[in-house]
């Protein structure tokens, strides 16, 4: 049976031709491959008449082997390697069969059915391989398509996410700018509340400066009179008074200076530099400023101010201007609360706001920090809003009166920037207690 190798030698080029039909190498290979197929047919028809079956087998095997060898050498047909290799068993089987038939015809005749069936199997193998390779190629093509599709999707998503991220970054930047602006506005708002208090606080020392300088001028007139009289003792007494007065002028001038400086510091952007500070000083200063601030707005308002400042407080490293703002905020809130209660409370209600400072120690007795307590007997915080008071923009004041940032900024300053804490005890109708704890760094 020399039919199969020729059939294979004809079908192989035709199949390759079909596979490359829509590629640019088709033009070049089309006629060459068709030629190779035609030669296989030609050889089959021609040799059948002139040669014995055994020789034809050997020739057909050689032709097929040559064809495979040639095609394998072509880079264009690299992807057909599986198909080409599938022909090798057929070449081998046909060659062995042919040689056996030629050399040992008797042996061949006895077993020719086996030889034929092996040839048939080898031929079948080619087509089985061809079918699987076709399927594999189909699979690979599909996977590639799917991969391209997925890659496109991933690229699209990535672009989308990048865009969203950029937008978010932009939004965050805007929010940060807005926050900075709000903080500045809150500072200015609290400065507004302070203005009246500051005016009062400055007016007092200025009055002293004016009064003591005026009285000193009078004293000098008197001194001249006494000099004329020759009363040296009186002259000396007056001179001492004048000296004391000048000292007082200087003292009150400095007091006013300190208030103006404090005011400027309050409105300036925070330097964020922690400096050793005496909490008592700023507590006392802002306590009075807050009181006079409210006092100036509502003249009928009066409250008992109680200060229990521990004189043995250690100096502590803080951004004094920021902590001062927190205290101012707490005092203003306390005064607001007692003021609020006074409107509805009984005649004998006595508004009272208390500030106290104390040293706190660790369990082992070492220094832990400073506690500042601001306590009022005002209207208290209703349970329903206790969770919300630290939130930005939450305010119980009428629209336009409070920014709702006071406590939220206080929280940022005390907890975030100074690693301290703020505790709140409040009972509606009875009063509120804010306890600030600042650790000694």
């Amino acid at each position: 049976m020399h039919f199969f190798p020729f059939l294979a030698a004809m079908l192989l080029p035709m199949r390759i031709n079909k596979a490359i039909k829509f590629t640019d190498i088709y033009q070049f290979w089309r006629w060459r491959l068709n030629g190779a197929a035609a030669i296989a047919v030609g050889l089959f028809i021609f040799l059948d008449d002139y040669l014995e079956d055994d020789v034809i087998k050997i020739v057909s095997a050689m032709y097929l082997a040559g064809l495979i060898y040639y095609l394998r050498e072509q880079p264009d047909f690299k992807k057909f390697n599986i198909l080409l290799n599938a022909h090798i068993p057929l070449v081998g089987v046909v060659a062995i069969s042919g040689i056996t038939e030629l050399v040992a015809p008797k042996f061949y005749d006895t077993y020719h059915t086996y030889f034929t069936s092996i040839e048939l199997m080898a031929f079948g193998w080619v087509y089985a391989r061809f079918a699987t390779s076709k399927k594999q190629q189909e699979e690979i093509r599909r996977i590639n398509e799917r991969r391209t599709e997925l890659e496109a999707m991933v690229a699209e998503r990535t672009a989308e996410i990048t865009k969203q991220r950029n937008e978010l970054q932009e939004t965050v930047k805007e929010l940060q700018a807005t926050q900075a602006q709000l903080i500045q506005q809150e500072k200015l708002a609290s400065l507004g509340e302070l203005t009246a208090g500051i005016a009062h606080e400055i007016q007092n020392p200025l009055n002293f400066v004016n009064n003591f300088s005026e009285v000193s001028m009078e004293l000098i007139d008197e001194m001249e009179e006494e000099l004329a009289k020759g009363d040296t003792e009186e002259v000396m007494a007056i001179a001492t008074d004048i000296k004391n007065n000048l000292e007082k002028i200087r003292h009150h001038g400095k007091r006013a200076d300190g208030i103006v400086k404090g005011m400027l510091q309050h409105s300036r952007a925070s330097s964020n530099v922690k400096e050793p500070t005496n909490i008592n000083t700023i507590a006392d200063e802002y306590f009075r400023l807050a009181y006079h601030g409210l006092r100036a707005k509502d003249k009928s308002f009066n409250a008992e101010l109680v200060s229990n400042l521990d004189p043995n407080l250690p100096v502590i490293n803080i951004v004094s201007q920021d902590v001062g703002r927190v205290l101012l905020n707490m005092f203003t809130n306390a005064f607001y609360a007692v003021h609020d209660k006074k409107r509805s409370a009984a005649e004998d209600y006595k508004p009272k706001v208390e500030v106290s400072t104390k040293n706190i120690h660790t369990l082992s007795g070492g220094p832990y920090g400073i506690e500042i307590k601001v306590k009022d007997n005002g209207s208290g915080i209703p349970d329903a809003i206790k969770d919300k008071i630290m939130q930005p923009f939450f305010t119980t004041k009428p629209a336009g009166e409070g920014t709702g940032l006071g406590l939220s900024l206080s929280y940022d300053i005390i907890v975030k920037a100074h690693k301290g804490k703020i505790d709140i005890n409040s009972k509606e109708g009875e009063g509120t207690e804010f306890i600030i704890t600042l650790p000694v760094q």
């Binding site: 009055n207 002293f208 009064n211 003591f212 009078e218 004293l219 004391n244 007082k248 009928s300 009066n302």
Partner: protein, 126 residues
């Protein structure tokens, strides 16, 4: 004439003593001082009969001048009732009305005009 000056500012004391230097020297006026309403009431417990005139700041920590005035009018108003003059940095209507309602004889604003005060004192001492 004994005058009690009530003001939480300590430096008010040398100021009054110097401003009224001549009057003090001539024993026309004698000054005593209190730094709070509470201190003033304590002082009055002992010496209310001696004090002719009380000058009090309104705005003080703790007991305000108005409350002090209220106490004086209730507890130390036996004839002759002391003259009470209120002093405040907030020279507004509300303060003025309150002080007058509670029985103040006069109402002065800070910064104090000592010449005016002297004029007023003269009328009360006559």
């Amino acid at each position: 004439m004994k005058i009690l000056v009530v003001d939480d500012e300590e430096d008010v004391q040398p100021l009054f003593l110097q401003r009224f230097r001549k009057e003090i020297k001539n024993h026309e006026i004698e000054f005593d001082f209190a730094q709070s309403g509470e201190e003033a009431l304590n002082y009055l417990k002992e010496k209310h009969s001696e004090v002719v005139l009380i000058l009090s700041d309104i705005n003080m920590p703790g007991m305000s001048g108005i409350e002090l005035l209220d106490h004086i009018r209730h507890d130390y108003n036996m004839p002759p009732p002391p003259v009470v003059m209120m002093i405040t940095a907030y020279g507004d209507e509300e303060n003025h009305r309150q002080a007058m309602d509670k029985g103040a004889n006069d109402f002065l604003t800070k910064p104090l005009d000592f010449n005016l005060l002297k004029e007023k004192l003269k009328t009360y001492s006559e």
